[in-house]
């Protein structure tokens, strides 16, 4: 089967290390709540992307088991195909036995050549898993590796490499947020999907006034929404197309409006400093918009995606036990 992970690998910034096999073979992955497969490049892969990343050697692992059925995952920019194997997967002292994972055989054109990650570890619900494999966190729960069926994500805004950012399995860390967590029911168990009550720009509810659906997605770095609405939003914050993407004049940041997401009766506001992504190009300051149009057709969409731009501001707890998401301002 195929699925449509909503991955904009262009903006991926937060990666961690996992190991697969015995002895362990290490890979840099990003942890993606918008997909449910674990895959890494394999020794069988001949694509350019596999020449620039470490590959998994099943013959070098004494705990490897061949499963053999094929899988394919489609991204916006290409597809990934491979075969499914099983081995032990370790993440910071947690070792999952017999984890089924994808060994990529072909990887999309140039898509992953430039990426600094080797593979992806999906943290979505099982219904999203290509090839019907059991996701890593489901195996962690089944093998009693975590005390609570919860994982949480803290993305630091620290300009020095976001130090302190962490994914926590088995609980959450109150030192990462202020106040108390607001719990929001998951409306559909695939992505981590929730209901929005509205989206306010400045003092006006401009979008989603009748309610809409959104997902909290660590696999998307920006905040995305239906392209017609995002185009309007870009205009409302004063962003204009520059060189193929939306940007603002950095001098206007303090006059720009907040953008707030109204969720379950609570307002989650993003200030311009939160949703504008500064960069330095040829010595010149560049201020890109953290909003991007992405049309997700029915039945999955339309969907707004609350990616890293949002998660950097709001600590996110993903509760599989109660099928709810907890949010609170990060400190």
């Amino acid at each position: 089967s195929t699925n449509e992970p909503l991955i904009n690998y262009l903006d991926m910034e937060y990666f961690g290390t996992i190991s697969i096999g015995s002895p362990p073979q290490n890979f840099t992955v990003f942890f993606d709540t918008g997909s449910s497969n674990l895959w890494v490049p394999s020794v069988y892969c001949t694509s350019p992307a596999c020449k620039t990343h470490p590959v998994f050697h099943p013959s070098q692992s004494s705990t490897y088991e061949e499963v053999g059925n094929r899988f394919s995952i489609h991204y916006g920019t290409g597809s990934l195909t491979g075969i499914i194997g099983a081995d032990q997967v370790s993440v910071e002292g947690l070792t999952v036995e017999g984890q089924q994972f994808g060994e990529s055989v072909t990887e999309p054109g140039q898509t992953f050549v430039n990426a600094e990650f080797d593979g992806i570890l999906g943290l979505g619900y099982p219904s999203l898993a290509a090839g019907g494999v059991t996701p890593v966190f489901d195996n962690m729960m089944a093998q009693n590796l975590v005390d609570l069926p919860i994982f949480s994500v803290y993305l630091s805004s620290d300009p020095q490499g976001g130090s302190g950012s962490e994914l926590t399995f088995g609980g959450y860390d109150p030192s990462h947020f202020s106040g108390s967590l607001n719990w929001i029911p998951v409306t559909k168990q695939g992505y981590w999907q929730i209901a929005l009550d509205g989206i306010q720009v400045g003092d006006t509810v401009m979008f989603c006034s009748e309610g809409c659906q959104a997902i909290v997605d660590t696999g998307t770095s920006l905040v995305t929404g239906p392209s017609d609405k995002i185009k309007e939003l870009q205009g409302a914050i004063g962003a204009t197309p520059i060189d193929g993407e939306y940007a603002v004049n950095c001098a206007t940041l303090n006059t720009m409006p907040n953008v707030a997401f109204l969720i379950n009766g609570v307002s989650y506001a993003l200030s311009p400093n939160a949703y504008i992504l500064p960069d330095l190009v040829d010595g010149m300051q560049y201020c890109g918009s953290g909003f991007q149009g992405l049309d997700i057709p029915p039945p999955a969409g339309p969907l707004w995606i609350l990616g890293d731009v949002f998660i950097r501001q709001f600590y996110a707890v993903f509760d599989r036990g109660n099928n709810q998401v907890g949010l609170a301002p990060t400190v």
């Binding site: 690998y9 262009l10 903006d11 991926m12 910034e13 937060y14 990666f15 961690g16 942890f31 916006g76 920019t77 993440v91 910071e92 002292g93 947690l94 140039q110 430039n114 990426a115 600094e116 990650f117 590796l145 975590v146 005390d147 993305l155 630091s156 490499g161 976001g162 130090s163 950012s165 962490e166 994914l167 926590t168 399995f169 088995g170 609980g171 959450y172 860390d173 770095s221 392209s227 017609d228 995002i230 185009k231 197309p241 060189d243 193929g244 993407e245 939306y246 960069d279 190009v281 560049y286 991007q292 149009g293």
Partner: protein
């Protein structure tokens, strides 16, 4: 018992391609219309 997985922040591919001055070429090569220009163009036409 919580298990913390440190996450390292890297420079994104977008920033890399922008610094190399090839980002707009990349959008074209991937047929990605990040600013919905083509949509409005069609309407004008």
């Amino acid at each position: 018992a919580m298990h913390r997985v440190p996450l390292r922040k890297h420079q994104s591919v977008r920033k890399k391609l922008r610094a190399q001055g090839v980002l707009s070429d990349f959008w074209k090569s991937q047929n990605l219309d990040m600013v919905q220009f083509s949509e409005s163009c069609r309407m004008d036409q």
